[in-house]
């Protein structure tokens, strides 16, 4: 099995049990984020110390450019970052699966029409597409989620289409069709389970760059209120302070990396399970 170089470490760790480690990481992140109001030592929006402080006992991860506690902001930051990513991915997966599978399954003009429209969107680099959309929508968390969702949709729909089109002519599909299974049931009960592993792993890929794109949009000033903590915004702020306080970028950066890696591993591991089952 080929692995992206960045995944080697996680691969080694997770050899023992491929699902447990990424699940534990994700659970920790989600738990820490939801429990932020209880466990965060400070109000994430309050200035509680001198700016640019290195980690100390009062501020475990130091303070940011304005003197706010980085640990508290990282914990609270997950709330907006993760909700944006979840909404964005939902916008990619739900319509993407429907559009892609219909195109792949029905073929003919349905395929041509749907894929031509997706190809028009694909012609733009997806961050550019997201930028165009958010310029129309205006700034804010919701707007970012919609923009990165729509921008990510065409690539995902293309994958769903290809997977469906190659499975469509498999012997067991022919067999199901021969005994009179209707098209919609064929799609949902026969094709979907077989393309699901591929779709899941691509959903994970979508999730990782949804995270990165939404961070980029937040960084470019489309996040609405800059005081609401968000990992992307924190990373952007830290970049401004990189010369004087390089540690500032580590907590939000690590949070993003850990989330993305855990999701990728989870997808790989579940793909493996599907494969073993069949």
């Amino acid at each position: 099995m080929r692995l992206p170089p960045g995944d080697v470490f996680v691969f080694v760790v997770s050899r023992t049990d491929r699902l447990k480690v990424p699940l534990a990481v994700l659970a920790t992140i989600i738990l820490a984020t939801t429990l932020a109001p209880v466990i965060a030592p400070y109000d994430p929006m309050a200035i509680t110390g001198e700016p640019y402080q290195p980690p100390t006992r009062e501020h475990l991860f130091g303070t940011d450019t304005l003197g706010r506690d980085v640990l508290s902001r990282t914990l609270f930051g997950g709330q907006q970052s993760l909700s944006i990513v979840l909404i964005g991915v939902a916008i990619i997966i739900l319509p993407g699966t429907v559009l892609g599978m219909s195109a792949g399954f029905y073929g003919q003009w349905t395929d041509r029409l749907l894929m031509a429209s997706m190809d028009i969107l694909l012609a733009f680099p997806n961050l550019l597409l997201a930028l165009v959309i958010i310029t129309l929508l205006g700034s804010g968390g919701w707007q970012i989620a919609i923009a990165v969702g729509i921008a990510g949709l065409p690539a995902y729909a293309r994958i769903a289409r290809t997977a469906t089109a190659t499975t469509r002519n498999a012997l067991y599909i022919d067999a199901a069709r021969a005994i009179g299974v209707r098209s919609d049931r064929l799609l949902s009960h026969h094709l979907l389970p077989n393309v699901l592993p591929l779709l899941l792993s691509f959903a994970a890929v979508s999730l990782s760059w949804t995270m990165l794109n939404s961070a980029a949009l937040a960084f470019l000033g489309f996040g609405g209120d800059p005081s609401v903590p968000n990992w992307g915004v924190m990373l952007a702020e830290a970049r401004y302070a990189f010369r004087v306080a390089p540690w500032m970028s580590i907590p939000p950066g690590l949070a993003i990396t850990a989330t993305v890696m855990a999701v990728n591993r989870l997808a790989d591991a579940s793909q493996e399970r599907f494969r073993n089952r069949t």
């Binding site: 309050a46 800059p226 005081s227 401004y240 004087v244």
Partner: protein, 558 residues
């Protein structure tokens, strides 16, 4: 085979990178000047960007100049000028020894051609046209005398004529190119000639060897810089890095934290330059609750610890601002200084006088109803106060404010410090960051804000007219006051400088009495340059370098 192809590709790329740009054929010494943004256009008669003046101030001469030290008007392309007593006509006597970079002789016709170009609507001038004010026309009295006629007196005219936006371009070049292409082939009479402009990449100037008609503060340095390449460093954190690595020899708008680091580097020098005009300020919306109340607006001023903002965000590189003009502006009125010093008790008593007497469970102040405040008028119908008095009494109206900020100039950071300061005394501030100038304008048009950040630079206080006169384009305070209108409108009509001083003093006092703005800091451009660069100086407008004086000491061989 595949490796061979790859190697060939890489080699060809390397070779392409080594092809000399036209700049390297130009005379040495050569410096690279970092600009902080890429203007949408570089034509000073058409475009309004302040950034374009950094290179072009030295490509053009203006009829008059302002001495950066005194602010006095000194001869430029005009050796002398007479203003009639009624202030309606200005007669300029022009120099006879001036040639454009393309060899064309400078004369009164050239000035006329330039004025025509700026005045015709087809040019689409964004700033220069406006700077000419009520100009009615001109008369060419002889080859070297021109008279400008105004339909009403306009005191800022000389200041306008001293700026690059009214620089005199070669009539031949203007005829040769159209409004879209002239910006790539600009020809003036100034100390530098334009070599090329590649949008997004570079703009190159080279010294004009024939230049001998500069104003007195143009001083030839020992080792004059011959060629200047301007590059665009739009990302703020990269500016200090580019300076330290030697990629640029001078750059403006360095981040305050980086400037702090640079000041310890013996090979570099920091040049903080105060920019005249308006400070970083928030305009307060007087037509929206709760900033429609004088007491609330005054309370907000008292509740803001401006010294702390300057400390945190600007690393003490900027002075605290107290009024609508910074001290380097003409007719700055120093009596507004130290008004509304940070005073929480004062803020609290003003807020409770305005009706915000209770605190809710989140620590936010609110006004119990029964107060003379109309409920938010939706759809234009006046709310029925008798409808649900019981329910309204329990909740009250919380002290919530909306602030709209642009992404530039560290304004979002300032907004967040203010948010945190106001939160402590129970004011709930929502910050809305917009993506750029157009979005800021759109937000202003909706009127859904209590505070909005906007300011512009300029040495003459007549710029206030754009912001505080009742129907002015940037009257985002929504304030209307016939007396203030009169002070500002008369201010640009009066020629007498004592009169102007009195009028602008009264205007500044009124603006602060009524607490129309929340000024934060006077603008300071943090320029950094290598210590080898000599003669670094800036003109009376603060933004524009006097490139004529730039010299580069040869590198120390030891």
């Amino acid at each position: 085979m595949r490796y061979l192809v790859a190697c060939a590709l890489i080699l060809s790329l390397l070779l392409a990178a080594c092809v000399p740009s036209s700049a390297s054929k130009l005379p040495e010494p050569r410096i690279v000047y970092g600009l902080s943004l890429m203007p949408s256009g570089f034509d000073p008669h058409i475009n309004a960007s302040a950034e374009l003046g950094i290179p072009l101030r030295s490509v053009y001469d203006t009829l008059v100049y302002r001495d950066p030290a005194t602010g006095d008007y000194v001869p430029g392309l005009a050796t002398e000028w007479q203003i009639t007593a009624d202030g309606l006509s200005y007669t300029f006597t022009l120099r006879r020894d001036v040639k454009f970079h393309d060899g064309t002789q400078f004369n009164a016709d050239a000035v006329g051609t330039n004025i025509d170009r700026i005045m015709v609507p087809e040019t689409g001038s964004q700033k220069a046209r406006f700077m000419l004010g009520p100009l009615a026309g001109y008369e060419i009295l002889d080859n070297y005398t021109i008279r400008l006629n105004l339909s009403q007196p306009y005191a800022p005219l000389l200041d306008s004529l001293s700026q690059v936006y009214l620089g005199i371009a070669s009539p031949r070049a203007l005829a040769e190119y159209d409004n879209a292409t002239y910006q790539f082939h600009q020809v003036g009479t100034g100390p530098y000639k334009m070599v090329e402009y590649v949008p997004g990449n570079r703009l190159v100037l080279t010294r004009n060897p024939d230049y001998a008609w500069g104003p007195p503060f143009y001083v030839m340095p020992a080792n004059p810089v011959q060629t200047i390449e301007f590059r665009f460093l739009e990302d703020p954190p990269t500016r200090a890095l580019a300076l330290e690595s030697g990629e640029v020899q001078i750059v403006g708008e360095i981040l305050p934290v980086d400037a702090q680091l640079l000041s310890g580097n013996p090979g570099l020098r920091l040049y903080p330059v105060p920019i005249p005009g308006q400070p970083l300020q928030f305009m307060m919306n007087t037509s929206r609750f709760p900033t429609d109340s004088d007491a609330v607006r005054q309370a907000l001023l008292f509740a803001t610890n401006r010294a702390a903002i300057v400390d945190t965000v600007f690393q003490q590189f900027s002075p605290v601002a107290y009024g609508p003009l910074s001290p380097s502006t003409d007719y700055y009125y120093d009596q507004v200084a130290n008004s509304y010093s940070y005073n929480i008790e004062q803020a609290q008593s003003l807020l409770s006088a305005a009706g915000f007497t209770q605190t809710n469970s989140n620590g936010i102040l609110f006004a119990p109803t029964g107060l003379d405040i109309p409920p938010t008028p939706v759809g234009g119908s006046v709310g029925d106060l008798t409808a649900t008095p019981a329910a309204a009494q329990i909740t009250g109206i919380p002290l919530e404010l909306t602030m709209v900020v642009p992404p530039w100039g560290l304004v979002p950071q300032v907004a967040q410090v203010i948010q945190s300061q106001w939160r402590e005394i129970g004011i709930d501030l929502k910050i809305e960051q917009v993506a750029g100038l157009n979005q800021l304008r759109e937000a202003a048009e909706t009127g859904r804000y209590n505070l909005i950040a906007m300011n512009s630079p300029g040495r003459d206080p007549s710029l206030l007219e754009q912001y505080f006169v009742t129907n002015a384009p940037f009257n985002w305070t929504g304030y209307s006051d016939l007396e203030l209108d009169a002070y500002l409108q008369e201010g640009s009509r009066q020629i007498d400088s004592q009169m102007r001083g009195a009028l602008y003093g009264a205007a500044q006092t009124r603006i602060m009495e009524r607490a129309l703005i929340l000024p934060v800091r006077d603008y300071v451009n943090l320029n950094g340059a290598t210590a080898r660069l000599e003669g670094v100086a800036f003109d009376a407008q603060g933004w524009f370098p006097i490139l004529y004086n730039f010299g580069l000491t040869p590198e120390d061989r030891n």
